[in-house]
Assembly symmetry: C2
Homo-oligomer: 307 residues x 2
Amino acid sequence: MNDQATPSGEMLAPVAEQITIIGVGLIGGSFALALREAGADCRFVGYGRNEATLVRACELGITDRYSTSIEEAVSGSDVVMVATPVGAIDAVFNDLADVIGPDTVVTDAGSVKQSVITAARNRLPIIENFVPAHPIAGTEHSGVEAGFASLYHGKKLILTPLKETSQQAINKVSALWSMAGASIEIMDPQRHDQVFAATSHLPHILAFTLVETLYRMEQKDSLLRYAAGGFSDFTRIASSDPVMWRDICLHNSDSLLAVIDGLQDGLDTLIDAIKQQDGKKIEQLFKIAKDTRDFKILNDAQPKETE
Amino acid sequence: MNDQATPSGEMLAPVAEQITIIGVGLIGGSFALALREAGADCRFVGYGRNEATLVRACELGITDRYSTSIEEAVSGSDVVMVATPVGAIDAVFNDLADVIGPDTVVTDAGSVKQSVITAARNRLPIIENFVPAHPIAGTEHSGVEAGFASLYHGKKLILTPLKETSQQAINKVSALWSMAGASIEIMDPQRHDQVFAATSHLPHILAFTLVETLYRMEQKDSLLRYAAGGFSDFTRIASSDPVMWRDICLHNSDSLLAVIDGLQDGLDTLIDAIKQQDGKKIEQLFKIAKDTRDFKILNDAQPKETE
């Protein structure tokens, strides 16, 4: 039940009676599972390019039914959640344009917001009904089997609404994500793309690049068998979905290139200090990093193996 | 008891009756705790520059006694374990030269081996008694309070003996580390320094540099509050001891600069692909990384939050 009782006990209408999930993977699947676990009394319809995935989503109890026709999949839905990689969103919006009802709220879960907003402006017939969103949650696993109900518990959900977005649409999407366990924050889309280029996209790109670099070295000098505890942790995010991260690189290029540039400056400073055997400088750089990590970034309780 | 029974039940002499630990931090302290837990019937003597640490090590049951005189600290010891940051080892060897007995085995736990071997050749009077070693274990914590008995369980211990090192000394150090839970591997010191530049030093340097880069950005654009699950894991090793890692940079510069160079090549390739919006190339690089991570690197059982 997602009927909400007012203080006087009067029942309100459920937030949504039917939600279409386009792209039933880790993010879309977990969204449905989280709402079900929270008692949302609504139907979930799956849509996507791979029918086997859509069938599996029904078997796993994520969706109630699916369709390979987008028209049929969105028919009767209050909300359409687009949870595909960012690179597919423009085409999905294009397909939605012809079939979406005038009252259906469209939202997404993309890790980049400016390019998704541009796609929405270009494609969607009623921009007031579009609510751009980004849940700050994930694992290194992907696909329909990877979803779980608690993925969003205690996590942030960033909304980057357009000036045209209706308050009603914002309220509906916020209510669903709150029910899924997330806490809502509003951000400017440009700032969103800059902040997450630094705190999420850059670390992922670095992990991929580090492991790809070691792959090149591995060919001539078998070394990965010596990669121990800390390395495993440090590179876990290099197991993330290459297509999702390819799309993020393509769609958030400006912000990402800027932060890669900042990192290269940092590396160049360190290289110079190493070449000059400037221990004081090296220690200072590492000390800043340690203090930042220890005091500014959420830590886990347990120490982990590092070397 | 570290007396060992032969198959016929005859008792052999203990591996060591007294071990001096120079530098009673995470690595040296855990070594003593591991041997005690394994039942080693030997005394541990602490030595280091900070008397408060030496006192605390006795309180914590790591050492039986300590001395602020190196002569007194090593007197009567079968084995001296040097577990300081790599940058301090040359000075420690210099101090040991005048006070070490002719039968005392000297070993270290430094993350770099070629420079430690050079220091040993320059300083130690009986090079046959020196056994260079590197336990592939650690946490992001450091100091006397950070030690624990199981740190080395199931971990590798790399020995990089000199051609002069006596087999007896190698056997003694191997026996102690085996008792501490580690499995012994022999490596060439140059190869050691190259392999660990890639699999350990480079990831640590990258984590420090990433966090230091974000620190610079944080000054103008508060963003670290958005650093979620994967970021915390990815940057955990940036909490490691700045002095230890400064010394590794200074003492393994050639190998480290070579692998940083390899990483910069990887970043440059990615930057070009992003600038050219070459999705195929980006996906290919990330796919190589994901496959390498998934199939070549020891994984933890549980998925972790990443974004």
